[in-house]
Assembly symmetry: none
Homo-oligomer: 146 residues x 4
């Protein structure tokens, strides 16, 4: 079985493009992570002025998406409809599951999940915009769970 997973080059490109998107839109300072298909960090950058827990939050957004296999918006919907489930999943994940927009799956041209992007710093909607644009710019397909 071959697994298609993001290279460091692709991950670095996504991180830098997402930060550039946030700055050009005058968003709050962003923290951006790209995880590979195994859920492990390939690249992470935290912009100057971002607060202390931002790395954990963006990793939690991306990891939560990979962990359950759908984007952050679907996680948010389930957290609202089934809070008991999502609280339990959060505990089970040791906290690494943050059910809001801004966790976006990265898919290749066959629809295979090759990683995930997590962004935090501005509103969840704005975080997500940067993730979507950066994933597209790198030639992949974003899945927000919308």
């Amino acid at each position: 079985m071959f697994v298609h997973s993001l290279s460091l080059d692709a991950a670095s490109q996504i991180v830098d493009e997402a930060l550039r998107q946030g700055r050009s839109r005058n968003f709050q300072p962003l923290t951006v992570v790209v995880l590979d298909a195994a859920g492990v960090v390939k690249a992470l950058k935290r912009d100057d002025g971002a607060s202390l827990m931002r790395p954990e939050i963006c990793i939690g957004k991306a990891w939560g998406a990979l962990a359950l296999g759908f984007g952050g918006r679907e996680l948010a919907r389930r957290a609202e409809k089934m809070p008991g489930f999502m609280n339990a999943a959060s505990d089970l994940a040791g906290g690494r599951m943050v059910p809001v927009a801004g966790g976006v799956l990265v898919k290749d041209d066959k629809g295979v999940i090759v990683g995930a992007v997590g962004i935090t710093g501005d509103t969840s909607d704005n975080d997500e915009i940067c993730a979507v644009e950066a994933i597209k710019a790198a030639g992949f397909t974003p899945d927000t769970g919308a």
Copy 2:
């Protein structure tokens, strides 16, 4: 990049003034912590009669504010509007995020966050009053998230 952070002298002054405020107003016994910009304790005092978990609670109020970059009232609002997010953030923080009033950011005259104060013991509103007064008395600007 230079970061302005609270000195021990400033932190000690804030802790003592907050305890004095609480006593002069006949509040319940307070526990007061001042964290520096790195989220690490500079000074903490727990008044006689305060119960066992007060140090963790006041640290959680101050650390949560620094972790996300806004005061405890905004954390409380988000906990109400997005309980799934705040539960996840609390898990992620190992519990060190207590989303109620009484966690107050300390800003310098340029608006830079230089630390945070957390107080617990009386009502959250009263805890916050003592934090605000003590931060002002030390020449800094409080940000409650209101």
Copy 3:
């Protein structure tokens, strides 16, 4: 049953005197905590320039002493002779047991344990000197486990 435990006044006096001792001896920046007889923080100060994990370490020294009922030097001896026991105790304590000198029990004139002091920053021997002097200056009897 009456339990004799340190007041905040006594704890504050010990913390300030220990910091003064360290500064007057040109020791590295110290972090000093005083726990009451229940093992809960009464007062903690971390001097300017102290590194990030110092609060946890000084609390671990003081709490470990209270947890087993003897000073840090005895904890260190047991860690050397019975490493399996002390590793297990550390796990059991969630890490809050640091078996080295610098964790000193505070006893009243009847020999009753009324709290503990933990200091970190310089060598363990120097940390302990400051704890011992500060406890004596406050009118209590130090027990280092020597």
Copy 4:
């Protein structure tokens, strides 16, 4: 009190130069992190082929150095001389303290700690070489704890 901390630009430069050093020396795939003075990730990259736990390990090397205030070689010496202390410190840190070479403090021209670099992937000695070269290339002074 002003604290000098690494910018994202400086952190990114260090991460990229360290990866370049490793590749040019034919080292095993490296994972490199730069933490700011608060111990929080500014930038992290994990090269293609690096194994799963590499992010945690490099963060543990860098964080351990900042937590105690000296480089990884000094942590390693203490782990050898005082295994009880270092095991306890590791527990206390929730595992985020990896006492080997490859965790290097970053100091400015006044000797102030402004962050730390952690590298893992090849031997600890080789990891450290890449950290030292990258810190120098960015205009800072490395402190390995040697």
